[in-house]
Assembly symmetry: C2
Homo-oligomer: 159 residues x 2
């Protein structure tokens, strides 16, 4: 079934008070959007952060994986920087999947990684603690976040 039809059915269930959580056909559809993606844009212009995402996503997808050419600093002045960065990539490229990573909310709120589709709909994501709490290298945080974001919708990443 196309994604729009699955979403339309889920919305109808919610309106009828008959929605009881995610369904397996929804999960399969999210998996296939990511796994069959042809062009993935990573919403960063930082080479180091790009490389971590590139290495992991290349293990599960055959897509062309590109870095966003423009600065996403302005997103840090919004309510949800990670979301705003992703939407900058959705709106300014022809990616079919976008991966973004940045602050969750206000300064101090730690990080969020999101995977969204070509319309900016959120497919999956993952968070880390504030960097002041975990003290890990940023590469290790991004690696873990992306792995968890894929695993939580059933895509396993080989070590």
């Amino acid at each position: 079934m196309v994604l729009e039809k699955l979403i339309s059915n889920a919305y109808a269930e919610s309106l009828k008070n008959m929605r009881f959580g995610d369904k397996s056909e929804e999960l399969s559809e999210i998996q296939s959007i990511i796994l069959n993606s042809k062009r993935i844009v990573v919403a960063t212009n930082n080479e180091k952060k790009f490389k971590v995402v590139f290495d992991i996503i290349s293990k599960v997808c055959n897509a062309e994986v590109l870095m966003l050419g423009i600065s996403t600093n302005s997103a840090d002045l919004t309510r949800m920087p990670a979301l705003s960065k992703g939407l900058i990539a959705v709106d300014s490229t022809d990616a079919d999947v976008v991966i973004s990573r940045g602050r969750l909310g206000i300064p101090g709120s730690g990080s969020l990684l999101l995977i969204m589709d070509k319309k900016g709909r959120i497919l999956t994501g993952a968070m880390s603690s504030s960097s002041l709490i975990h003290k890990n290298r940023i590469e290790d945080s991004i690696n873990l976040e992306l792995t968890i974001a894929l695993e939580r919708i059933g895509i396993l990443v080989k070590k």
Copy 2:
């Protein structure tokens, strides 16, 4: 420092390309907003889900903890249901802190718990896998999400 000043300073750092992650005074401020909160609204009208949140949050705060009186089903027809539920509570109550929990994004995308302040600014949050992947009881998922949401900004919950 008041939160608005901390945010204003962080935004100025981002504009100057001089922002390098969360700062300890930001974390302390987020902690004190939650710990000193007088009225917390849980954005659900489900008694079972409310009780899990009530029991955990009561271990760390002295606040009055209330359930939202109205249905939040309509939020499931939005891009970020958990966020939309939280904003329903922010806009329709005089809570100083709101806790919401629902779907992260599209149907199939698993769950998100958010803690926001009286203006709807996001203080912290946590995610679970899609319920089809983890198969845990909903009470256990909410318990874990809220515990992680607090721990990731440095508030430890006693077992």
